[in-house]
Every structure is written in C-alpha cells, then in structure tokens.
C-alpha cells in the first residue's frame, strides 16, 4: 500500500455479500477486502460474478444479504460519493455521433469541472490514450481500440478516487496497454484505488493484488506470487550438470524435490532465495528458471475448489 493511502478506510470491503438472480446465487457469501491505494485485479471465468460484484459496489444492484462498504460508507449511501467513483462498463458508454472532444466535454460537464480544469484534463488524457490527433473525429468513426481508449479517458476525466474498470484493455495493443498499466500504477501511488476485471493473465500479474472469483465466491486472493503458492505451483530450476547422478543425490539429501532426466536435473523451488543455496552446493554447466503461469494456478484452483 502506498504512503498516500495509509490510514484511509478500505476502498471496498464486502462481508458475506449475497446477490440472487432468481435461484442463482450470483454473489454467494462473498467476502473481500480491497485496500485503498492498490491496483486490484478481479479474475475469473465468465459468469463467476465479477461484473455483478462491480455493479453491486456502485449501488446498481440491491443486495440480498451481507455488508458492503465503499470508501468507508455503507453501499446504501453510495450515491453521495458518486463524484469520487469512475465506472467503466463493458459497454463503452460513448456517443458515436459526438466527436472525441465533445464526449469528453460532456462527461466533464456532468462532474462540474471548470472550463480551465476541463481543458487541462482533456489534453492530459488524450495524450495518455494517444488520441490527441483525433480530437475532432466522430467517436463512431474510431477503431475499436480507439473507442475503448476514449471510453477510458471519459471515465478518468473527473479524477476519481475509486476506479472500477470492467475489462478496460480489451482490444488495445500491447504497447499502449503498457502505458495504461503505468498510469494505473501511478494512480495507485497517489492513493487511488484501481479495480479491474480482465481475462488476461499477464494483466493480472501486473496488479498488486489479485482476486480469483468462482461461482460468486472468492476462490483465492493475494498477490500474484501468493496465488501461485496457493495453487501449489512453484518455480522450476533446470540444471545441466557434469555429474548429474552425484549432484542429484546431494541435492536430494539436502531436502530438495528432484527429478533427474539424463544430464538435466529439475528442482522445484519453495522460494527464489533457494537458487543461491543450490548454486553454493553444485556448479551447473548451464541453468534455466521456469516460472509457473498464473493461468495454470487458476486452472488448478478451478478444478480443485
């Protein structure tokens, strides 16, 4: 957690939250705590309740049970803090028959930005989403990725403290995605909270915290490293050794989990720090470290839980 956010109440805290759609438990006793000033990624298969959770947070859904607080307030009073919330739905929420500039001006107007502030924000954001040259183009004439970027800019226009972004990076090229992530991280450093849903594992890995939802519940939560450990996935160190049998025996005697395959010996690591200890014991000709993918962790968690 960044310094700016210290002492602040959690951005979102949910306790045993239940939301029913007919007989389906869209949110099933969900408990989650999202501290202020972090980038938090909500992952999970389709229909696991990610969007439902976000809609509950902004007060668009009436809960059937549990306790939900947003920026320190009960969700029943969330209307009073709407000016502090930036909400980007999977629908882009833009007017295709208005220009890029006009869309931004409209949202700036809704939040009561002064003229000067408005122009300043519009310039900054257009630069961030790389649309400065398209100011006067109709939004409807933009490509899918550009449309998405404009939608993000509109969501950020009023500098919200809590950003709720439902799949914000779909259709955006990797280079620009990198820019977005740097921007989100900067926002978090300023004490703002960024909650993102995504299907992309490499995006989840960039977040400070990841929550993995399954069937309306939080199946796993933690930093990306913690999630990997929870799924029982550990980094694999491959060693090419001059005397594989001898060294393998040595490592095994020191308690490592070893698999010998010809002259290659694979070691499952508990911690990265173990690499140093291993290199103190044996001198490999060559070595390679394989990090487990978060994706695999979630696959395991999905099957197991």
């Amino acid at each position: 957690m960044a310094g700016r956010a210290r002492g602040k109440p959690p951005a979102i805290s949910a306790r045993n939250v239940v939301k029913l759609f007919g007989r389906m438990r869209a949110l099933d006793d969900l408990t989650v705590n999202i501290p202020a000033g972090v980038t938090y990624c909500l992952l999970g298969p389709n229909g696991s309740g990610k969007t439902t959770f976000i809609r509950a947070v902004v007060g668009l859904l009436k809960l059937d049970g549990g306790d939900l607080r947003v920026l320190g307030r009960p969700v029943s009073q969330v209307q009073q803090i709407y000016p502090a919330i930036g909400y980007m739905t999977q629908h882009k929420a833009l007017y295709p028959d208005l220009t890029v500039q006009e869309n931004l001006e409209f949202y700036a107007g809704l939040y009561g930005l002064t003229r000067q502030k408005r122009e300043e924000r519009i310039s900054d954001l257009l630069q961030m989403v790389a649309l400065s040259e398209h100011r006067s183009r109709l939004a409807g004439a933009l490509s899918g990725g550009m449309y998405q970027r404009l939608s993000l800019a509109c969501t950020l226009i009023h500098e919200p403290d809590l950003l709720l972004l439902d799949e914000p990076t779909v259709g955006i090229d990797p280079r620009l995605r990198q820019t977005f992530w740097e921007y989100f991280q900067r926002l978090a450093e300023e004490g703002k909270t960024v909650l993102i849903t995504t299907h992309l594992m490499d995006e989840a890995e960039r977040c400070q915290k990841v929550g993995y939802m399954r069937a309306g519940k939080m199946a796993a939560e933690g930093s990306p490293e913690e999630i990997l450990r929870l799924a029982g996935l550990r980094p694999l160190l491959r060693l090419w050794l001059a005397e594989p049998e001898k060294d393998a025996a040595l490592l095994r005697s020191e308690g490592y989990e070893i698999m010998a395959k010809g002259d290659v010996v694979e070691v499952r690591l508990e911690r990265h720090a173990q690499i140093k200890e291993i290199l103190a014991a044996v001198s490999p000709l060559d070595m390679r470290l394989e990090e487990p993918a978060l994706e695999e962790a979630f696959l395991r968690l999905s099957e197991g839980a």
Binding site: V58, L61, H91, L94, F106, G109, T114
Partner: protein
Amino acid sequence: MSSSFGRAGVVALRVIRQLKRDRRTISLIVFAPIVLMILFGYALSGEMSGVALGLVDGGGQAGLKAHLESIPDYDILRLGSESDAEKLISEGRLDGAVVLEPEGARVLLDASSLQISGAIVAAVQAWVAGEQTSGLKDKGKGITMRYIFGYDLEMMDTVGPAILGLVVFFFTFINAAIAFIRERSQGTLEKFMVSPLSRVEMVAGYVLGFSFFTILQSATTLFVVRFGFGVPMKGSALTALFVVLLLGAGALVLGSFFSNFARSEFQVVQFIPLIITPQIVLCGIWWPLQSVPEFIRPFSYILPLTYAADALRAVMLKGAGFADILYPDLLALGAFFAIFFAAATVMLRRDVG
C-alpha cells in the same frame, strides 16, 4: 456548473449537438410539416361540398327534421346540445344548426357566411310554407332565427394549427423514444446512474434540448401555415409556441416512458399505430369531437393532441389569449407532462435490480 440546472444544461447541450449533426432528422423536422400540410390541406379541402348543418333533436318537429334530412346537399351532424352547436358554428365547423323542440324550433346561423345562412333559412322557410298551404297554419309560429358570429372557414384553417401539433408530437415522441433506447444500449444510462446526474436532471436536460428543435420546427411550420396557406394568426404567436412547447415536452416524456417497452429502434416504430394513430383520429382535427360517439369520447379527452389542437385553433383563429386557453387546454397538457415526467424518471431505474 455543478448545480442541478448546470447538469441538466450539459445534457441539453449534448442533445442539441447530437441532433444538429443529424441532417436527415433536421430536414424531416423542418420539411415534413410542410409536406403533410400540403397533403392534408389540399387533398382534403377540395370543395367542402354541401352544407354542414347541426341538428339538436329535443323532440318534436318530426316533419321539419325529415325535410332537412331529405335535402341532398346537407350534411347533417347530430349534436347533443345547443351549446355544442353554438361552439361549432363559432369555430366555423358548422354552417348552421337547427334546434328542434316540442314547442317549435330555433335556427342558429353563421353571420359570417350570409350566403349559406340564406340557403338554410330558405330551406326552413320552404318547409314552413308547405305546411301552411296544407292548412296547418300554426306550425310556423315557433320558429326563431339566431345569428352567431362564426368564421368563414377553409379546410386549411382548421387543419393547419392541428397539423403543427401533430407533427411536433409525432417527431418528438419517436426521436425521444429512440434516444432513450440508445442511452440504454450504449451503456450511457448505466454510467449516468453512477454519476452526480440525477434522473430528473437527465429527463429535464432532454426536455430542454428537444425544446430547441421544437421551437425551430414550430417557427417554420407557423410561418408556412401563416404565409404559405394564409391561415390567420389572430392571437399571439408566442402563445401558440408555448402550447406547442408544452405538447412537445409531453411527447418527449411519453417517448422516454415508452422506450422502456421497446428493445430496439425498430420496435419504437411499432408504437406508431398504438400511440400516434388514435390521437390523429380522435383529436378533433378531421371531425368535431361533438360528433364522436359518446363511448369513445373519453379517450379523446385523455389524449394531449386534443387539447393542443383546440388551444392552437383558439389562438390562431379566434385570437384567444393565454388566460382563455388555460382551462382546460393548458392545464390538461401540463398535467399530461407532469404525469409522464414522473413516470419516465421512475422507469429509468427499472433495470436496476
């Protein structure tokens, strides 16, 4: 800027910007009324063949009744009361009326068209003369004449003001319903729900923005009605404009309300037979309300176009002022707007579970 009025203004400005860019809609707004007027006005006016005569049957005088009904050129309109007859004559929709009573008959005549009045008098007197020769001398005694200052009417004069109301209602209803459907499908409505913009501010913003175009539409239509077709404007054009704005605001909130029952723009079009057509038929433009069968008449009186057409006709043809049309016309239009404004704002939250 962060005031309620400011936010409604931001929505209004956006609506204006969007519509301004939609050239097709703008030309429809401006030219459709003109085309419709030419169509209805000329196609229907032709000649008003025959004499439109009201008949208030208070019992008795069966012979006179039969005589009048037997005259081929007379269109007989049965009315409930003498005051209905008076009203229609003063509006220029009847050339005259005969009130039959057991004791005699009263002939109401339009003082503004003496030629036709003369013909009606002649017809009645022909009957009296016939009865007298056949020996029933007393029969003619109970017949009195009364002149009402009417209005020498052409078809365009009654149709023009009403078409203005009809066109504004039609386009505002359709455009508003489609605009609100788009707000839903684009996801902007959901985004508004999570912003400082309240539902009341949003609908109010739409009313403001659309009013801008209603004024444009009314101004061009009034201009053509007045100078192209020579319909008089005896009252104040501003009063007429106010009536149209109130009607347009009612159509907007009605469109917003009904957008909840349509899933696509296509389905909005399907509302036309249900919402628009009854108003055209029952608003009293084509035939007087007084002649609509009694069991249907209550429907006429809940439709806003009925009141708007009545008010516009009163302002333009008879020089009625604001106070003259306040009750019932403006009050009815105001009530219609208020009810559907409330309904539209409540329904905006519908899909929130």
